[in-house]
C-alpha cells in the first residue's frame, strides 16, 4: 500500500494495526503531507543540499574533462548527486564531503563508460609515456584554453584524473587517493607522469598549430 521501512522507524517501532488506527483521530486534518513528513527527513534534505549542491559546477567541470562530452558530463553529475543522496546516511559529517562527492562522481563516470562501449578513452599505455622527457619549454602560455584542453584530453585517463584532481581541483594527495581509491604512492607516480605527459602534449599541440617552430628544445623565451 505504501513503502514501509520498518528498520527506519527507530524509537517508535511498528507494533501493528491497532496502534495505527488509534493514532488516526489525533491527526490534525489540515496538515499537508509535507508537514506530516518527519522533521528528520527535512533536516536530512536541508543538510544534504547545503553540503553537496554548492559543488555542482566543480563536479561538472571534472566530469566534462573526464568524459569530454557535455551531455554525458551532465548525466554523470546528476547521477552522482542521486547516488550521493542515497548513500548520504553512510556519509559522516565532518569528513571531507567534497572528496566524497568526487569519489561518487568517478564511480558514475566509470559506470557510464562501461555502459557506453563506444565511449572514447585516451587509453592507458604507459610505454608512450616512458619515452617522454619533460620539456622545460613554457609553451602553455602561447596556447588558447581550447588548445590546452585538447592536449590534456590526449593523456591517459588514469593520469588525467590525478592531474585534474591535484592541479585543477587542488586536492591534497591524501584526498586524491581517497577519491580514486588508490594508494598515495600511486597518486604521486601518476601525477608525475601525467604532468610530464601533459607538457609533452602541449608542446606537440603547439607544434601542430604552428605556434612552436623548429626542433624540440630549440626554442627559448
Amino acid at each position: 500500500m505504501f513503502p514501509l521501512q520498518v528498520t527506519n522507524l527507530g524509537r517508535t517501532p511498528w507494533t501493528g494495526l491497532d496502534q495505527l488506527i488509534r493514532s488516526v483521530p489525533i491527526l490534525p486534518f489540515q496538515r499537508k503531507p509535507a508537514d506530516v513528513r518527519t522533521t528528520d527527513a527535512q533536516a536530512r534534505t536541508r543538510s544534504f543540499d547545503a553540503e553537496a549542491l554548492p559543488y555542482m559546477d566543480d563536479l561538472f567541470r571534472m566530469a566534462l574533462r573526464m568524459t569530454r562530452d557535455r551531455a554525458r558530463a551532465e548525466d554523470a553529475v546528476q547521477e552522482a548527486y542521486l547516488q550521493a543522496w542515497k548513500s548520504f546516511d553512510r556519509f559522516e559529517s565532518g569528513t571531507n564531503g567534497r572528496a566524497w562527492l568526487y569519489k561518487v562522481l568517478f564511480n558514475c563516470v566509470h559506470h557510464q563508460r562501461r555502459k557506453w562501449l563506444r565511449f572514447p578513452s585516451a587509453g592507458d599505455s604507459e610505454e608512450v609515456l616512458e619515452t617522454l622527457a619533460a620539456s622545460p619549454l613554457p609553451v602553455a602560455d602561447k596556447l588558447s584554453d581550447a588548445q590546452v584542453l585538447e592536449a590534456l584530453d590526449q593523456i591517459p585517463d588514469d593520469y588525467r584524473a590525478v592531474v585534474l584532481l591535484v592541479d585543477v581541483e587542488e586536492f591534497a594527495y591524501k584526498d586524491a587517493s581517497e577519491v580514486l581509491g588508490v594508494p598515495i604512492g600511486t597518486v604521486m607516480s601518476r601525477l608525475s607522469r601525467g604532468r610530464k605527459a601533459l607538457r609533452a602534449k602541449l608542446e606537440e599541440t603547439a607544434r601542430s598549430y604552428g605556434i612552436l617552430k623548429g626542433e624540440r628544445k630549440e626554442g627559448s623565451s
Binding site: T12, P25, L27, F29, R31, A134, P138, L152, M188
Partner: protein, 282 residues
Amino acid sequence: MSNHVLPMLDRFMDGELPPRDLAGVAKHLADCPECRAEHDAAVQTRARLRQAARSFLPPANLRSGIESRLDAERKSKPRIWLPLAIAASVLAALGLNEAWQTDYLRLTPETQTAYVETVSRSLTPVMRVGFADHLHCTIFGKNFAQRFDLQEILKSLGLRNAQLYPALAKHIPEGYQVIEGHKCEVQGRRYLHLVARKGDHFISLLFTRRGSGEAFERDLRSVANETGIPLYASGAKRFQLAGFETSGFLVFLVSDLSADRNLSMLSTMSAELAGVADKLEL
C-alpha cells in the same frame, strides 16, 4: 641531473613535502638554474591548465536537472516514516468518508471548509455547487444514523417534489436505499437533496436553482447526449460528479461509484428528472 631535486619537485610545488626537506629543496632551486627552469615550467603549466579547465560554461539547467532527480527520489521513497505519516497514508487509503463515518475524525467547521476547498480545487465553479452540498450535508452532516421512513421523507421534501423519490429509487444500484430527502441550505444556496446509502457509501441527487449565467457548458464539454440532454461529468478525489441543466435548475448526481456508473445512472434518470423539473418547488 641525478643529484638534483627533480624527484621532489612535484611534492615541493604541491606543498606536500615534509618540512625537513623543504629548506634543502628551496636552497637547491636557488642555486641550480636547470632545476629552477624545470620548476618554473611546471608551475607555469599547472597555472595555465587550472585556468583553461576552469574556463567552462556550466549548463544553464544543471541545478534544475539535479534537483528534479533528487525530488523524484525523495518523493518516491521517503526513507523515514513515522506514525503520523503512516496514519495519513491509511487515512488516504480508507478515504475520508469511512474515516469520518466511523468516528475516527472530528472535524471543525473550519477544517470542513478547508477540506471542501481542497478537494474542490480541480472542479469548475458550477460543479462545485453540487459538490459542496454533498460534502457538507451528506458527509459532514452525518445525520443519517436512523433510517427515515417514506412519510418523513416526502414530508420534508415537500409534496410537489415527492416524485423525485421514485425517480431515484428506481435507478439506484443494488444494495442502496433511499434514506433521506429534504430541503437544505449551504452557503446561502438552497437545495433539494435526496440521499441513497449502502453502508458507508452515499449517492446524492441534488437540485438547485440556476443562477444567472450559470451553465455547465461555460467551462465543460458535455460527455454524453444520448437522451438529447447534454451531460457533464467531473471527478474530485474519490467522488464522481455528473450533472445537467434545465431552464430553471442545475441537477447533480454525486457518488463514489465509478465515473461510468455515476454518469450512466444520471443518464437513465435525466429525461424523467428534466420532465418534472418545471413543477419542482424550492
